[in-house]
Symmetry: C2
Subunit: 212 residues, 2 copies
DNA sequence: GAAGATACGGAGGCACCCTCCGCTTAACAA
DNA sequence: TTGTTAAGCGGAGGGTGCCTCCGTATCTTC
């Protein structure tokens, strides 16, 4: 058997194009109709057969995933830009605010994402990693500058942020989330130079006295 | 036409019984199989016909709602009990912790709830009202005792709590949420001179691992 | 241009949704 | 108790969307 199998073929142009079309259509359809929207509707909007859709994205979740990955990238890039801001605490606060606003435009997708996160821990890992790094870089700067306590991880903060945004079916949710984030940042912030010093000088003993 | 129409009949015993059975079955089925679970499976498990299920709960959301309402009641009652605890801040912290644990046992239901909340603002209003009052009573005590800042509403706190719990697909989510809540309560807490001192003298030593 | 690999589309089988209506049963009156 | 009647029950069946499968079309490579 001849195997120049390692010879990899260039992916077909139509396949690439169709995949892109489906993603585009899916984003629109899910945003409008929620996660239950018909996949056949997605295929139709994309102008491809239902079979094509299923070949590229064997399950509904696969499709959610692919759509979602893009969104994550965008937030990640924003953090990159904010890293050069002057005030680290303000930069963090700003990123959080942007994240809230970002979520605000994705109403229809959110329920879909809730479902996807639940079943695909792989996606959760990816986005966690990506967004954690984003927050982490902002957080570290603030900590390094002595402006924030250091016992809350980027993971924790991310969790709080995403969590709060899930509540966005209430009227006024957005301003409420923003207020919460302010309180939160206050909770994280070093109180005064003196206090900060005292605290850092303090010896170990785990952050909290959690009973049970 | 004779109308002793105002004469109201007692609801039929079998109807009451069946309704109860369906709720029981639904809780189990949704917990295990998530929100997409077959309603026919629910009917079968309840030992009733599919028609009966649909008469009692015309839509899938109606069923979610009814199941959910009970859960809310329980949390509400817990708050009632905690109102008599000595330390108000600790009572609040405890209620929050219990809420987290409570959610932890409802894995399968959470995605369903996310969907329901999105489409039924009526349910959201009900549970918000109920839980807000629960938190509110605990929060008020702490504020009245001068142990907490007063500019964060029960609604805000509830939002943060529920939000955080939506993240529970991650390993270790629970301890993370608990940690977040601690930080949060710290952020809320009054920083009186005495308190602040106490805090500094206290262990809140952070740091630790937090690699990267 | 030919050969072969790759992708396309949509028919079709299946599962589930939900409605509709004839039958059953509980509540009330006598 | 028994009769009357409203309320409730069950599940057949039409409809929709899911997903697979395979004959056909198109692209890449030589």
């Amino acid at each position: 058997m001849d195997d120049h199998t390692d010879q990899i073929r260039k992916p077909r142009a139509d396949a690439v194009r169709n995949r892109e079309r489906v993603l585009e259509a899916a984003k629109a359809v899910f945003s409008a109709g929620g996660p239950e929207a018909s996949l056949e509707a997605v295929a139709k909007r994309a102008g491809v057969g239902i079979g094509t859709l299923y070949r590229h994205f064997p399950t509904r979740e696969d499709l959610f995933e692919a759509v979602y990955r893009r969104e994550v990238e965008q937030l990640s890039e924003l953090a990159e830009q904010l890293k050069t801001a002057k005030d680290p605490v303000d930069a963090l606060r700003r990123w959080l605010n942007s994240a809230v606003e970002f979520v605000a435009t994705k109403k229809g997708m959110s329920a879909a994402l809730a479902l996807t996160f639940q079943s695909s821990s792989e996606l959760a890992a990816f986005s966690m990693d990506r967004l954690t790094k984003a927050i982490g870089s902002l957080l570290d700067r603030a900590v390094a500058a002595g402006q924030m306590r250091a016992d809350v991880s980027p993971e924790d903060l991310l969790r709080a942020l995403i969590g709060m945004c899930y509540m966005h079916d209430q009227p006024g949710w957005q301003s409420s989330v923003l207020r919460m984030l302010d309180v939160f940042v206050d909770g994280l912030r070093m109180q005064t130079a003196a206090k900060a010093k005292a605290r850092v000088a303090k010896p170990a003993k785990p952050a909290v006295k959690r009973k049970r």
